[in-house]
């Protein structure tokens, strides 16, 4: 009896807990930079707010590119360098801002150009296993 009840409780907890965590990570200000003709790469920027437990952004993907990596911007030896990172930390109550000249999502093997006004499907995977799906608007990065 107790075993069964415990099992049910545990099952409920494991089902609901990640859902709650997921709800606590929100995305805002997401945008993809429109690409020049013939581009094979692109970048997506967004802000992640984490109102839940400590977690991290560990992966991203879109149907627009062969490969999407988490990138940071390293300034060393007088040079700017983009470097892949395994995760972008999302501490509890914290915010991660992915923006030009900083952390960003890097799209390799772009399958089609990103035109202003279009939207890019994006799936983000968090360390706790939850996934966030969103449509990212494409903006013309040439304008300020």
């Amino acid at each position: 009896m107790i075993t069964t009840r415990s099992f049910v409780m545990l099952a409920l907890a494991t089902t609901l807990l990640p859902a709650l965590c997921w709800a606590d990570v929100t995305v805002e200000d997401a945008w993809a930079r429109a690409t020049p003709p013939g581009a094979k790469t692109a970048a997506i920027y967004l802000t992640l707010n984490n109102g839940g437990e400590d977690t991290a952004l560990v992966a991203a993907s879109t149907s627009f590119a062969d490969k999407t990596e988490l990138h940071t911007h390293v300034h060393a030896d007088g040079m700017m360098r983009m470097e892949e990172v395994p995760a972008i930390d999302l501490p509890s109550g914290g915010t991660a801002v992915l923006k030009p000249h900083g952390d960003h999502l890097m799209l390799f093997g772009l399958r089609q150009g990103l035109e202003p006004g279009a939207t890019v499907d994006l799936e983000l995977t968090l360390e706790n296993g939850r996934q966030l799906k969103l449509d990212v608007p494409v903006r013309d990065g040439r304008k300020r």
Partner: protein, 205 residues
């Protein structure tokens, strides 16, 4: 490549010291967006190729102001920002009579950046922009003179590699010499104003 980097860094260091020296001795009020060299630096003879597939040499800098950005077209973040800044600078200066200014992306990634690729990339930012590239020996002649540094991966796994590079806007004067350098972050209005001032102070204008 591994022996090239320390040399480039040493060159950059010496160049930075020279810039600082030039800057500290200059008696005139300075533009605030970058550094004007006290003694403009002549470029060595080089041979590159432009976005039309034509030979491009140091002679092609003669007779007008040029703004150079060293980067590559597969660059998704820094280079589009810099080229957008150049487009904004050009847009501001298009209204200035008598200022002959030209803008170039110098690609340090010649293996992927063919003239055709450069053409479609640079003209996206402004139809009058130019792209030039060439083999590494020729590129190094101009990057060393400009104090620019870059590093292409030696054996990339596939075509999805990134090139590390310095991010400056280099101003070449109508005599084809390096005249001023703007460092990141760039402010288009300040750069446009400074270029206009440089032109106003130019003897032949």
């Amino acid at each position: 490549m591994s022996t090239r980097i320390p040399l480039l860094l040493a060159a950059l260091g010496a160049f930075a010291l020279g810039l600082w020296f030039a800057f500290s001795l200059h008696p005139e009020p300075e533009p605030t967006g970058g550094y004007v060299l006290d003694q403009p630096r002549a470029l060595p003879a080089f041979e590159l190729v432009d976005e039309q597939g034509r030979t491009f040499s140091s002679e092609d800098f003669q007779g007008h102001w040029s703004v150079l950005y060293f980067g590559f077209t597969y660059c998704p973040d820094i280079c589009p920002n810099a080229l957008s800044v150049m487009a904004q600078v050009k847009g501001t200066l298009d209204d200035v009579d008598g200022l002959d200014d030209r803008y170039y992306l110098v690609s340090v990634d010649p293996d992927r950046d063919t003239p055709e690729r450069l053409a479609e990339y640079v003209t996206y930012f402004d139809p009058a922009f130019h792209g030039v590239t060439g083999d590494f020996a020729q590129l190094d002649l101009i990057t060393r003179a400009a104090g620019a540094v870059y590093k292409v991966p030696e054996a990339p796994e596939d075509e999805n590699y990134l090139v590390a590079h310095s991010s400056t806007l280099t101003v070449i004067d109508p005599e084809g010499r390096i005249h001023a350098i703007f460092t990141s972050p760039f402010d288009p209005r300040t750069i446009a104003r400074d270029l206009e001032r440089l032109d106003e102070g130019w003897p032949s204008s």
